[in-house]
């Protein structure tokens, strides 16, 4: 049976509460994983493992959190900002994330703000629909 968006949100919330040791009410749709919820790099893997279990899906690591590969490629990054090609790559790799605001000032330091609770929910929803 297909899960409703609310059920997905609730499940994602539970995963993040367990993985990051935060309170339910901190896990809002707009909360950023690193800035607001204090996630570190190993937490992203923990989250991926937990999401796979909770939803019974397979998540290739670079699919949900693809930024790392981008950040180290000089074709995509120039002077601490993403280039046009970098942005195009990001759009392609993160269709589950709204990057309109980021495009105005594609500063690498702000890349982390793209990883929000909502982005995870969108991603999982897309994954479940495709399955």
């Amino acid at each position: 049976m297909a899960m409703s968006r609310d059920e997905i949100i609730q499940q994602v919330q539970e995963v993040l509460v367990d993985a990051l040791g935060v309170d339910d009410d901190e896990v809002t749709a707009e909360a950023t994983l690193m800035g607001d919820l204090g996630a570190e790099s190993i937490d992203f893997l923990d989250i991926v493992f937990r999401l796979e279990k909770a939803f019974g899906i397979k998540i290739p690591r670079e699919e949900l959190f693809p930024a790392e590969n981008l950040m180290t490629d000089s074709e995509f990054v120039h002077n601490g900002k993403l280039t046009e090609r970098g942005l195009a790559e990001l759009r392609e790799k993160m269709p589950h994330t709204d990057i309109t605001a980021f495009e105005g000032d594609p500063d690498l330091n702000k890349l982390a703000d793209l990883f929000t609770v909502n982005a995870i929910v969108n991603y999982v929803e897309g994954k479940l629909e495709a399955a």
Binding site: S41, I42, L45, D46, F49, E52, R61
Partner: protein
């Protein structure tokens, strides 16, 4: 010398599960201070024992080719004390393992009484922090270290040994 905090493996299913034993003795000096008149095994050292059990399980899964480090204590809940004279059983299993990392869950019991639940994450750092250099001596799985091999010899060769003795007959 490596600091080994488990005494032996009693079960070892490569890539899946490992069970180790640790005997707790009053000869361990820290027990005299923790606490005076009431010696109990410090909980952080139970995490260490589980980290060694799970860590060796994770390392062996990739034939000790990866540098495995403890990256996260996901859960550590303690239900009872461990006292001198107790033998604790550390039962660890791999929940997920990919090229960059592994996630494990474990239970510590003492005579079938649940002592602790400890879930951990390990990182294969060459896959995660490629290009950074770490001093080799920080790692326990380098080729010069045979101490883990001796810990594992009995459980890993048990299958092969049975086959050998079969042939001998």
């Amino acid at each position: 010398m490596r600091w080994i905090w488990i005494d032996k493996f009693v079960e070892f299913e490569s890539g899946r599960r490992a069970v180790a034993l640790k005997n707790v003795t009053l000869a361990e000096e820290h027990l005299h201070d923790h606490f005076p008149g009431f010696p109990v095994m410090p909980e952080c050292l139970m995490i260490e024992a589980m980290a060694q059990t799970s860590g060796i399980l994770v390392g062996e899964a990739k034939k000790f080719q990866e540098k495995v480090i403890l990256a996260k204590v996901k859960k550590a809940v303690f239900f009872d004390y461990v006292k001198p004279g107790d033998t604790i059983k550390l039962d660890a299993k791999i929940d997920s393992i990919i090229s960059e990392a592994a996630s494990t869950s474990g239970k510590i019991t003492c005579e079938d009484k649940l002592i602790a639940e400890i879930d951990l994450m390990f990182s294969h750092i060459d896959q995660n922090l490629a290009g950074k250099e770490f001093p080799q001596e920080n790692f326990v799985f380098d080729t010069g270290t045979s101490v883990f091999e001796s810990l594992l010899r009995d459980v890993l060769s048990a299958g092969a040994g049975a086959a050998d003795s079969e042939q001998d007959r």
